[in-house]
């Protein structure tokens, strides 16, 4: 028989190790015992994947063995944290001990011989996630261990050796019988199609599963109730794996475990209906493709890190030029932040915009902008500012006092991007968008819109509008749901052009040969090493909105970034590309400036939970129930005010105001009230109590507010547009807290997207596009400009990479 023996400590000197070494030699004629060290297994953390090399080695060796021996010391009446950490890893994403025969023993210097640690270990091994078969009885405790071995590390007491032999022989027998339990029972399905319903993220998830006598033949899921995004990947990946391996032992997708489990549970229900115990299929090995941990090697012209809008457009451009491209995406699906977009793409398209009438007040907006003192404008932008004045003068002259069409030009877009991005941080540093980059963004955004159209994005040309914070109506709205429209079209195009997308595989480091970047090394979905040789690398991995540590490290703009600050971004946005760039000496720019979305969900960072109504309708109050700001304030003014109030605030609404919410339904509202993420009460007093405010304060605030609505004037905070009073029960309070929305800073790039070092010299073979790069949006990004940025600079990155390799 073949056993593995785990040394339950990281201590370099341990009598438990000596004991196992003794057993290894002493029982060598009966069994092969391999000793395993645990000293390089990191501390367990459920937020990180199980891919330490030593851990994977232990996992594989346990699986290949007939049984496991664990020798534990006793630390503080229990097992050492290092051994506990290993067992936590072995009950998290991998479960090699499931059904494995285990023998426990231990040595200690005192008389106890690890007796209490052994009892804890038994209980731990019996936990459902571990599920080992621990041999009952035959408790082997080696007390006074420092006196138990001779100078050749042999046990010096015959009695002890005899008892150890009895225990070991018993374990050999136990292992043999216990392993028989792991042999699969005979079964056959009652052929047919079974309909079941499982509980998904968005409610009931109906499934139809078909069986032949021996096989699960097909799994069809009705996904209409689920949101798009990662869930879509689950609905393809999980059924594929189940059918491939004819097993229910499949890995859940990180970031979508609830939905993954819903699919697995649904199929298990169907298996039961087909007359088979689902546990049989749960005990089967994982599908072969999930076990494949062989290292992989690829060669291509350009490797792109990050499968969001910037990365996909870079790769598509490379493919268009007849070169090969590989996209490395760390998540199970491409899309990045782009797929979460809730707005259109900005591009000045005067010819098209001319088909729309101007809105009242729009000319005033431009006049106000053009009235800026030229001394306040940076030199580089001055010529454009003057040119814009001329353009607008011509327009004014043409229309006089008549209603005109919607004015726009790349110059207006440029100046608005410049003014919009000008900010001063807490230290008094001024920042504004780098002219050459902003010029490209605004001159070539339209080209990007048209390029996307050729790739397959369809636009709704009957509508032009400004997304929140855009300042102007120049948004091109796709027909399909915003972010999805871009990502679907680009991924389809890349597939058609035979580009390769490798998901679930974070890039770890550059492949450097002779001091030059020659590709990327990544970690694959099963922990394997993926080496990609390439002539150029494009970093398109997004910003660092989901990396609180990094946000705090660089922040110079906000008075405070809370430890538990949320983000509207994908959780993938952890600044990986910035760190990779730094590893080869890339310079950074504007890192202290981040954009917050003030009205985000305090628990999730989501923008569209609770009651989202137009600002003329809601009342913003702080935790005490007092108003503190004009509800029409811009994103960063509101965020600053809210941070000064402590972060959390509430949007107050009544039954009539509720009807103006575009984001929700009665069913959703009821569910959120039940979950405690939205508050509802029949009186304002009760509402105040529910959210921890003084009822008198809230009632007073609302009475005053209602009187302002009546008077059409707000002497306190000067809100100037009102619609509804807060008067009809039930009343609502939506808790909100600012969440990180966009990180403007990033890698320094030039106009051709070459990554620059601290001395502004390009780093050979390295390009960057999208939120990973800095310099464009400076202190504040206009709504709709991120899409213009990623598709414009993404394309340029692909193009430059090809040009420079030729």
């Amino acid at each position: 028989m073949k056993f593995t023996a785990i040394i339950g400590t990281t201590s370099p000197k341990s009598y438990n190790r000596t004991l196992l070494q003794f057993m290894q030699a002493h029982f060598s004629d009966k069994a092969q015992i391999e000793l395993l060290e645990i000293n390089e297994v990191p501390m367990f953390n459920q937020d990180t994947p199980s891919n330490s090399p030593q851990l994977l080695e232990i996992n594989d060796k346990i699986i290949a063995s007939d049984g496991v021996i664990i020798a534990t010391p006793e630390y503080n009446h229990s097992i050492p944290s290092s051994l506990k950490s290993l067992l936590e890893w072995l009950s998290f994403e991998r479960h090699p001990l499931d059904g494995k025969p285990v023998m426990i023993l231990g040595a200690s210097i005192d008389a106890q011989g690890s007796s209490r640690a052994q009892l804890h270990l038994r209980q731990i091994l019996d936990a459902p996630g571990v599920n080992a078969h621990v041999m009952p009885g035959y408790e082997f405790l080696l007390g006074n261990a420092h006196k138990a071995f001779d100078d050749k590390d042999q046990l010096n007491s015959e009695g002890t050796i005899d008892f150890l032999e009895i225990c070991f022989l018993r374990f050999m027998r136990f292992a043999k019988i216990s392993n028989q339990l792991n042999e699969e029972e005979d079964f056959s399905f009652k052929p047919g199609t079974y309909e079941v319903s499982s509980l998904g993220h968005g409610g009931a998830l109906p499934l139809k599963v078909s069986f032949s006598k021996k096989k699960i033949e097909s799994i069809n899921i009705d996904t209409s109730g689920e949101t798009e995004g990662l869930a879509d990947v689950v609905f393809v990946r999980i059924p594929d794996k189940i059918i491939e391996g004819q097993t229910l032992n499949v890995d859940v997708l990180s970031g979508a475990s609830e939905t993954s489990n819903a699919v697995i549970d649904g199929v298990a229900k169907a298996v039961k209906l087909a007359g088979v115990n689902p546990d049989i299929l749960k005990r089967r090995p994982k599908p072969a493709s999930s076990l494949n941990r062989g290292d992989e090697e690829y060669t291509c012209d350009v490797v792109v890190i990050g499968g969001g809008g910037a990365g996909l457009s870079a790769a598509a451009t490379v493919l268009q030029e007849g070169k090969s491209a590989i996209i490395l995406e760390k998540y199970p699906a491409v899309g990045g932040n782009t797929i979460r977009t809730g707005g259109p793409i900005n591009a000045a398209d005067p010819e098209w915009q001319r088909s729309f009438q101007e809105n009242p007040g729009e000319r005033h907006t431009i006049e106000a902008l053009l009235n800026t003192d030229e001394n306040d404008i940076h030199q580089e932008y001055l010529a454009d500012f003057k040119a814009l004045k001329n353009e607008f003068a011509t327009y004014q002259k043409h229309f006089g006092n008549d209603k005109g069409y919607l004015f726009d030009s790349p110059l207006l877009h440029r100046m608005q991007t410049y003014f919009g991005g000008k900010r001063t941080d807490l230290k008094g540093n001024n920042i504004y968008g780098q002219y050459d980059l902003v010029k490209i963004l605004t001159d070539r955004a339209l080209e990007s819109v048209k390029w996307l159209e050729e790739i397959g994005v369809e636009y709704n040309k009957d509508i032009v509008f400004a997304p929140v914070g855009a300042l102007w109506r120049r948004g091109h709205k796709p027909v399909k749901k915003y972010g999805t429209a871009f990502i679907l079209a680009l991924s389809k195009y890349i597939a058609d052009m035979s580009g390769t997308i490798i998901t679930d595989s974070p890039a770890k480091e550059f492949l450097i040969e002779d001091g030059e970047i020659k590709g990327v090394i990544a970690t694959g979905v099963n922990g394997q090493t993926i080496t990609i040789h390439a002539k150029a690398v494009v970093l398109a991995s997004g910003g660092f909105g989901a990396n609180t540590k990094m946000l705090k490290q660089y922040n110079t703009y906000w008075s405070n970034i809370a430890d538990d600050v949320k983000t509207t971004n994908s959780y993938a946005m952890t600044g990986d590309g910035i760190l990779l760039g730094q590893s080869v000496g890339a310079g950074l720019t504007g890192m202290g400036f981040t954009q917050m979305m003030p009205v985000a969900d305090p628990n999730t960072g989501e923008l569209f939970s609770g009651l989202q109504v137009p600002p003329e309708n809601f009342v913003i109050v702080n935790k005490q129930g007092k108003r503190f700001i004009n509800e029409f304030a811009g994103r960063d003014v509101l965020t600053k005010a809210v941070l000064a109030e402590g972060g959390l605030f509430y949007l107050i609404a009544d039954d009539e105001i509720k009807k103006t919410a575009a984001n929700t339904s009665q069913e959703k509202i009821d569910r959120q009230v039940e979950e405690g993420t939205l508050f509802r009460a029949d009186t304002l007093e009760q509402l105040a109590v529910k959210v921890g405010m003084d009822p008198e304060v809230l009632v007073d605030t609302i009475n005053k507010y209602n009187s302002y609505v009546e008077a059409g004037e707000d002497p306190e905070f000067h809100k100037d547009t009102f619609s509804l009073k807060v008067e009809k029960a039930p009343f609502y309070a939506t808790p909100r807290q600012p969440a990180v929305h966009h990180t403007m800073g990033g890698l320094k790039i030039d106009t051709a997207t070459r990554v620059l070092d601290e001395n502004n010299q390009p780093i050979k073979n390295l390009y960057a596009a999208g939120e990973v790069a800095g310099g464009i949006h400076a202190g504040n990004r206009l709504g709709g400009n991120a899409l213009a940025d990623i598709f414009t600079f993404g394309r340029i990155a692909g193009k430059t990479a090809i040009e420079e390799m030729n």
Partner: protein, 202 residues
């Protein structure tokens, strides 16, 4: 009272952290709770005397300064998380700062059991001679179904659990006072005991 409240996990999202955050706010009139995160402590190893990691020394100092310690533990595989055990090993191996320190154990879990088995283990661990904390007896606070236990502003919404917690905390403040008095009148102070690892390696 000044209490050090230890979050017993290194996970970014934790209802045990939320529980302590709630207690911090809810009991602020009665006591000051400082939340302590163990996620940045190195994993325990047998450091040489003069090479104890700074983070460990900082933790010991905080424990020594506090009137008592509150530990919120999740349950991993029927026991406390390795990362919490590691923190306790550091204390036990270096400063033994928990000796005679009043300790309140609480815990939250997503399931119904509220970390009951982890808490039982934690009691045994804290009762070991090298830690020798003064754990408040008969004070089990198990918060099951913890994912739905807090509203958006972090308030515990289970009324029965809130009442239970109020009473346990009130008792703990009293317990802290009594233990402090007890210790002041104690005849033998067990400080110089040498433990196994201080003489031999296990």
């Amino acid at each position: 009272m000044n209490y050090l409240a230890i979050v017993g996990t290194n996970s970014e999202v934790s209802t045990n952290r939320m529980l302590l955050q709630f207690m911090q706010e809810h009991f602020k009139a009665a006591a000051q709770l400082e939340l302590y995160e163990i996620k940045d402590l190195p994993a325990f190893y047998e450091a040489e005397d003069d090479q104890v990691p700074q983070e460990v020394e900082a933790l010991s100092a905080k424990i020594l300064q506090a009137d008592g310690v509150i530990i919120a533990t999740p349950e991993y595989d029927h026991a406390i998380p390795a990362v919490l055990k590691s923190a306790l090993e550091w204390i036990s191996y270096t400063s033994q700062a928990l000796t005679d320190k009043p300790v309140l154990i609480v815990g939250a879990s997503h399931g119904a059991l509220g970390s009951s088995r982890a808490q039982a283990h934690l009691r045994q661990i804290l009762d070991s001679p090298e830690l020798a904390a003064r754990i408040m007896p008969s004070s089990e606070f198990l918060l099951g179904k913890s994912q739905a236990a807090f509203n958006a502003s972090g308030t515990l919404i289970y009324e029965d659990k809130l009442a239970e917690l109020d009473e346990i905390f009130r008792e703990f403040v009293l317990f802290t006072e009594i233990i402090t008095k007890l210790l002041s009148e104690k005849a033998v102070i067990k400080k110089d005991k040498k433990f196994a690892w201080q003489t031999q390696k296990a």
